[in-house]
Symmetry: C2
Subunit: 235 residues, 2 copies
């Protein structure tokens, strides 16, 4: 049986180039890339032109907000300029998509700070590659009471949150994380041990609440928000 | 819980437009479309430019071969102009991607004819939307001995093949189809009844071969080709 090389000459150059360009996108393998290419070949000129122009314009027009580094088209993002947001809270996330996920829950009305990644020394991502110094500067200059470390609940996210905690702790403000626990609609039987463990640790601090209300404020306030964040992420 | 509409204002216009353009591609839902968009936002200007230009150029430069309607950049495709192909055979397929799948097997050295679709009256695809008249004209004017109807082995493909058969039968040339049977590496136990049935019908004509060799020529010649076509399709 002969292999791919034999057919390379049969795919004309512009088609091969588009298949190659598509297959450099994340989650798109060579088969999907050919399918998309042949779809565009069949489709009208208009659809291909709209897609190509949208790609060019997204790079030309989209910038990062000068305050929170969320994506925007001007100097500041719609959240930073909104007068309806609670300016005493900053929610720190890894990526702009995380802002959308949290906004979709409707449970958070504060500001954001987008790090643009997580600490991953093995992939060559260090502290200085993230917007960490910018966060520290913001916390020092803005009237912030609380920073919510909403990095992803995985190893890299935890490491990043730990690093942020070290930087922010001396500044004397409240530092919280979205609650861990069982996802809404989930099944206790199928929960992994870590999640179920977190859920029981969470429950323990709820019981403390009877004696010391302020210590559960994080869980109290962010329970719905955290649950909705998880639900959104698993879709 | 608030829904999507609430976040629409937060996605700046160029980003929303690219998400929308990506999600019009087949097999790409809104989640994948956002992921691709945010990937391009993070990636270098070069990668986005290469993709956008590849899309434009594929529409500008790619045409259909004037003889077989396969995709190409000039008047005729590389297969039609090749002197190493057997000009007595035409393999009729639905889409240009089918040509690549068959070429990948290395088991067929004849020419092709791409119909650009299959008969599907419910979707508004009729006989005149396919390159059927062009095929009949080719068969009449070129030195063709055999036409292989390699439309897909499903309802629409079978209907299209039947229609072609009606048009081509009066022209007095050999008309064959790639063999049906068990896919290589498959498991007899898991084969669907239709496939297993075809495999046994195929075997029956093999037994006839002892008495009448010419009647099994199709199966004889195309067995490997058909098996490889299936294997390719299931990847």
């Amino acid at each position: 049986m002969t292999h791919g090389n034999d057919t390379n000459g049969l795919i004309v150059e512009p088609v091969a180039r588009l298949i190659d360009a598509f297959s450099r996108l994340p989650g798109i393998g060579p088969k999907t890339a050919s399918r998309l290419t042949f779809f565009l070949l069949r489709s009208g000129d208009e659809q291909a032109r709209v897609l190509a122009e949208a790609i060019i314009q997204v790079k030309e027009q989209v910038t990062l907000c000068k305050r929170c580094f969320n994506i925007t088209t001007g100097d500041y993002c719609p959240i930073c300029v909104s007068e309806r947001r609670d300016r005493s809270k900053i929610c720190v996330v890894e990526e702009p998509l995380d802002v959308l996920a949290i906004e979709r829950t409707g449970s958070y009305r504060g500001l954001y700070h987008v790090l643009h990644g997580h600490i991953a020394p093995l992939e060559g991502v260090y502290r200085e590659d993230l917007k960490i110094d910018e966060l520290v500067a913001r916390v020092k200059s803005e009237p912030v009471d609380e920073v919510i470390l909403a990095t992803n609940p995985n190893t890299e996210g935890e490491a990043t949150a730990f690093l942020l905690l070290k930087d922010l702790a001396p500044l004397g403000l409240r530092i919280t994380r979205p609650a861990r626990g069982l996802p809404t609609g989930g099944d206790l039987e199928w929960a992994d041990p870590d999640t179920l463990g977190s859920a029981f640790e969470g429950d323990a601090s709820y019981r403390d609440a009877a004696y010391c209300v302020p210590s559960v404020r994080l869980r109290d306030i962010h329970f719905t928000f955290a649950v909705q964040l998880r639900t959104g992420a698993s879709q």
